[in-house]
């Protein structure tokens, strides 16, 4: 799952050419889709991820590469993580 979302993020140029603010906004939309199952307002590949909300344990898999991308964007050098505590 994390590989796939990362691949889509990189291959589909979902972030390329966007401003930092637009990227943050897109992540908010993605996060809402994977946590609620809500379809995106505009026709978008992001809709493919709506099914993730049925698997709450996997939301962190779907968002990991986004966290990495946003960390890079924000200049945060800490390893990206979706864990609030270790398993």
């Amino acid at each position: 799952m994390c590989h796939f979302t990362g691949q889509r993020l990189a291959d589909d140029h979902q972030l390329k050419g966007k401003t930092a603010a637009e990227a943050e906004k897109l992540y908010k939309e993605f996060h809402e889709i994977v946590t609620t199952g809500k379809e995106p307002e505009e026709i978008s590949d992001l809709g493919a991820f709506a099914g993730v909300h049925a698997f709450p344990a996997r939301i962190k898999c779907a968002t990991l590469s986004w966290h990495a991308a946003l960390n890079a964007l924000r200049g945060d050098v800490a390893p990206a993580t979706t864990e609030s505590h270790t398993d």
Binding site: M1, C2, H3, F55, R58, C61
Partner: protein, 408 residues
């Protein structure tokens, strides 16, 4: 009425349910086992009739609860064939048992120049406590390597590793990821020949086979109740009495002292020395009940049953193209670990859950081993007394469907 093999599933009420529209197939027993009616009833009976704080109590309930608690200790003593009940210390589980030995024995006996010998297949709970005490004392860590995917300890260089600087050799009896059954008696004897003490992590063996501390010749043995059909929150540290009585307390508090003055105190001997505060007597009673349950089935029979299912799973899974099974090809404990290239273990486990099958995917608290084998995660199916051959078939069918879906 003692449970029998023929009607064993009926003894486990949790198994009678549907998950995602399929009958539950519970194959996550290496993480925790389910509990039979007799264990649940023992817990229920204790809290309904006997509950009271143990030791020193002068009223009827306290004396009854003390008898129950000390009775459970005597039951565990017999279960592992220890010399005396004083050698059985109740803890929260394997992790606390190993931390107790590392902190207490380690602080009194380790110094700069000493070596702690571990193996590459240890669970984090048998690595991290030793790292902590190594930092404090200046001792260093050394590892017995694993041969590779067949998951055996490489004992060819053991003489070179087991030098007189080694003061303690801590190793797992059965690997929670590989299923390897280590030659514990041989390893204990080899350690003894250089004067090292031994600490055996029996978390994955205690509920699956006869574990006899005298035959094994270990100095310490650690295990958890919840992996042997008992409840969470209770575990055991077995220790040789002479060693336990020479060790400083692990925690201070009520119940573990003989005399307390304003500036100094004196300790009771084992086991009280290591059981500061109100002990977990209710769960200890449930642990005693699980010893009865496992003995009623026969522990050699359990070993054969779980081992046979693991072997059957191993052989049937091995026919799936692209699967990488890790662990020994011959005799193994009751589990099988595997990976598919290009499919993450978490995806495999999610798909299996859709079929009502409970598996575990991840590093299994074995990050150093994963690194050694060049893996980030595996899928693990682990078996117990109530599992059946048809559940192995359900597992294999589910894995085939998953792999087909991913085109791996």
């Amino acid at each position: 009425m003692p449970p029998t093999w023929a009607r064993i599933r009926e003894q486990f009420p949790i198994l009678d349910q549907q998950v995602n529209g399929h009958p539950l197939v519970y194959l996550d027993n290496a993480a925790t086992t389910q509990k039979p009616n007799s264990v649940i009833a023992a817990l229920d009976r204790f809290y309904a009739r006997d509950n009271s704080n143990v030791h020193r109590g002068l009223h009827a309930l306290s004396m009854r609860a003390t008898d129950d608690y000390e009775g459970a200790r005597a039951r565990v003593r017999a279960f592992v064939n220890a010399e005396a009940s004083e050698e059985i210390v109740f803890t929260r589980g394997t992790t606390e048992s190993i931390n107790l030995v590392a902190a207490s024995w380690g602080s009194a006996n380790l110094k700069k120049g000493d070596v702690i010998l571990l193996t590459e297949m240890e669970h984090h709970s048998n690595i991290v406590p030793w790292q902590l005490i190594a930092k404090k004392t200046g001792a260093t860590l050394r590892y017995v390597p694993v041969t590779g995917d067949d998951g055996l300890l490489d004992l060819s260089g053991l003489d070179r590793l087991l030098t007189p600087e080694v003061k303690v050799f801590a190793f797992t009896h059965v690997s929670n990821t590989l299923g390897t059954i280590n030659p514990a008696a041989e390893l204990c004897a080899r350690a003894r020949s250089v004067g090292a003490i031994t600490v055996v992590d029996a978390a994955q063996s205690i509920g699956h086979m006869a574990v006899d501390v005298k035959a094994m010749g270990c100095d310490f043995l650690a295990f958890s109740g919840h992996k042997m059909a008992s409840v969470t929150g209770i575990g055991v540290l077995y220790g040789r009495r002479s060693l336990l009585d020479s060790m400083p307390p692990y925690q201070g508090g009520g119940g573990m002292i003989s005399v307390v003055d304003f500036y100094e105190s004196r300790w009771k001997p084992s086991p009280e020395r290591f059981e500061a505060g109100t002990p977990n007597f209710g769960d200890a009673v449930a642990l005693g009940a699980s010893c009865d349950f496992l003995d009623s089935l026969g522990r050699e029979e359990i070993r054969l049953h779980d081992g046979a299912l693991a072997k059957e799973a191993h052989d049937k899974l091995a026919e799936i193209p692209g699967i990488r099974i890790i662990g020994p090809k011959g005799e193994r404990g009751g589990l099988v670990s595997f990976a598919f290239s290009g499919v993450h273990a978490h995806d495999v486990v999610t798909f299996a859950d859709e079929d009502g099958i409970a598996l575990r995917g991840g590093h299994h608290c074995n990050q150093p081993l994963m690194k050694r084998l060049g893996l980030t995660s595996t899928v693990r199916a682990s078996f117990y007394v109530y599992n059946e051959s048809r559940e192995v078939d359900a597992l294999v069918a589910s894995m085939r469907r998953t792999i087909k879906f991913f085109g791996a």
